[in-house]
Subunit: 346 residues, 2 copies
DNA sequence: CTGAAAGCGCTTACAG
DNA sequence: CTGAAAGCGCTTACAG
């Protein structure tokens, strides 16, 4: 890596190495150094060499803060997430970080906590920090607000269908995922399939319900409202939903929960009622969180590639930043079958 | 930069509001505006009023980038975490974000992935970004490296015992937590208590083993190496460890796993062997991840207040940044008892 | 208490 | 191809 004098990459007594120092050592003007740094102009081979040498010798690292002020860009992109500690978004954040970092960008994460007002504040903070663009992971900002933002800087948003210049919307096919999950239960021979919805304020919750209905229709199984109960995407709500389902005394042999957290809550409720999974009731979730593989029984789920989605979102942002129109391919939903929907469990 | 003019808190045609514009409107010099912004000097009441009005009227928001360049501070602090998507660290990150944000600071999160070289790179990135200080969540950097860093900027580190100026180490009492967990099992009447260690390269894993041994000693139960198996803090390693324990044919009636993820893996193994928890084997973990409450059976654990630890770390950083010696009180470990260590489970 | 001035480290028209 | 100069938006000695 780099050669250093003290443990901090700075020459003794001289403070951080600046571009001016590099210029002087190389015998050129600061402008020229800046230009080769930014690939902004062609420079003669000799000067380039001299500069490269000087940079290496001094261990020069450009100051992003100064670059930001002078150049109007900070090489940073803001990321609005709902919660830093969400099991699902966490993986997406990691994907974003990875992709951005490879391109020399930094990510600035801020949390909206599922609250439009807070998300708006996040945008203010990010704008104040002069990020070059913003990635919005779902959230509750209105489509119009996002389009407004996109007039000022590139925006990438997940979980929506939006079109605007400088705006790219990445959408995972929630409906299809839900359809696959439900169809899987149908294929197993289930006819009484209960559904625990997500928080219906979220568009993806609506999509997942659409998928559930579509699969029933395909199988000519009549939709029965009594087998549907609303959840809020939390474990607790899943547990309550399962209890509600049981209390309705409307027989069912399988449950599709609109996310894994609710499925886990439902599983606990069933266990406590002495019901066997999948013997008495088959259960499938959505998201395929890491924990699914280790719950009891291991939970079948619709695999949502959070990490890859994060990478793709970042990649789209990078492309927008280059002034290109993003071309990316969102993977299709797939099923991850585990014991919770197998014929019997050990 | 581009000139902006719409729905985003900026005046039409004039681009972002600058401090100079505020100064002009208020009829004072930029220096004065800057001073009241930073509380750097006393200003006459009238001017102060005029400036406040101007700021409000213009909707001025100071540009942190410029402040950073000019003032040598960026109002941002770097946070080195191991993985953005870790179930445990996620909560700590949220705590850090919360506390920092309240003080007008932003957090810059970077992941070290349990790798000293990557962590060193993280430090480079953060230094290049001119963060005002760095919070290091555990990690593998050497103590000396951290002390070196602390010569240049405030450092807060968790999971270590270190002393240096501009360096504050926050330590949760891992040993005591482990002792409590083991003692709980002892109090339940268990005498053959198996232990699945964490990754012994981590100091906290060593501390947790110390706690396990201490509790046995207190209870005059001889330590038996055959009841101890090494894990790596992952679910898989917990599952493998449980299998190993069973294969040794050394009877045990309870297991203490050095973290919840391993406990979950172990639980799955036991279930598959037809063992009942807690009937055949009581099980307790460490960390008290949110998932513990919904696993089957709900898992007893040593509560580690990750969110609060994050807040405390951030608070310590803010104090260092003020030039103060941090005074903070780390909460003591407590037990969260659930069904996995109850006499019987429904 | 308050200005004028210089400067933070870089970039970018503007002229060769 | 390459400099000199101005400027990004703010802060901070330096002088009153």
């Amino acid at each position: 890596m780099k050669s250093r004098n003290n443990a901090n990459g700075m020459r003794p007594g001289s403070g951080p190495v600046t571009l001016a120092m590099v210029a002087e050592l190389a015998g050129v003007s600061p402008s020229t150094v800046s230009r080769i740094l930014n690939g902004t102009a062609v420079v003669s081979a000799e000067k380039r060499q001299a500069i490269d040498d000087a940079i290496a010798k001094l261990g020069f690292v450009p100051n992003p803060v100064a670059r930001g002020l002078a150049g109007g860009r900070t090489l940073s992109v803001g990321v609005i997430t709902q919660a830093l500690d969400s099991p699902f978004y966490g993986a997406a954040l990691r994907g974003i970080e990875l992709e951005l970092q490879a391109a020399g960008y930094s990510a600035l994460f801020v949390s909206g906590h599922w609250n439009a007002a807070e998300e708006a504040r996040c945008i203010d903070v990010l704008r104040a920090r002069r990020v070059d663009g913003i990635i919005v992971l779902t959230g509750r900002l209105s489509d119009n607000r996002l389009k407004e933002c996109a007039k000022n800087m590139p925006i990438v948003v997940t979980g929506r269908n939006l079109k605007a210049s400088q705006l790219y919307a990445l959408n995972f096919d929630q409906c299809e995922g839900a359809r696959l999950a439900t169809k899987h239960l149908v294929d197993l021979g289930h006819k009484k399939i209960a559904f625990i919805t997500g928080d219906m304020e979220h568009p993806d919750a609506q999509e997942r319900e659409r998928g559930y209905r579509a699969a029933l229709e395909d199988a000519r199984i009549p939709f029965d409202q009594r087998l549907v109960v609303n959840g809020l995407y939390t474990e607790d709500s899943g547990m309550a939903a399962a209890a509600e389902l049981l209390s309705r005394r409307r027989p069912f042999t399988a449950v599709f929960a609109a996310n894994d957290q609710m499925a886990l809550g439902a599983a606990l409720c069933f266990h406590r009622q002495g019901l066997h999974i999948p013997g008495d009731v088959a259960l499938i979730g959505f998201d395929d969180l890491p924990v699914c593989a280790y719950s009891y029984p291991p939970l079948s789920s619709v695999h949502q590639p959070a990490n890859e989605m994060g990478r793709l979102a970042a990649s789209a942002m990078l492309q927008l930043l280059q002034g290109q129109k993003p071309v990316i391919v969102m993977p299709s939903p797939t099923l991850k079958i585990r014991q919770s929907t197998e014929a019997s469990v050990s």
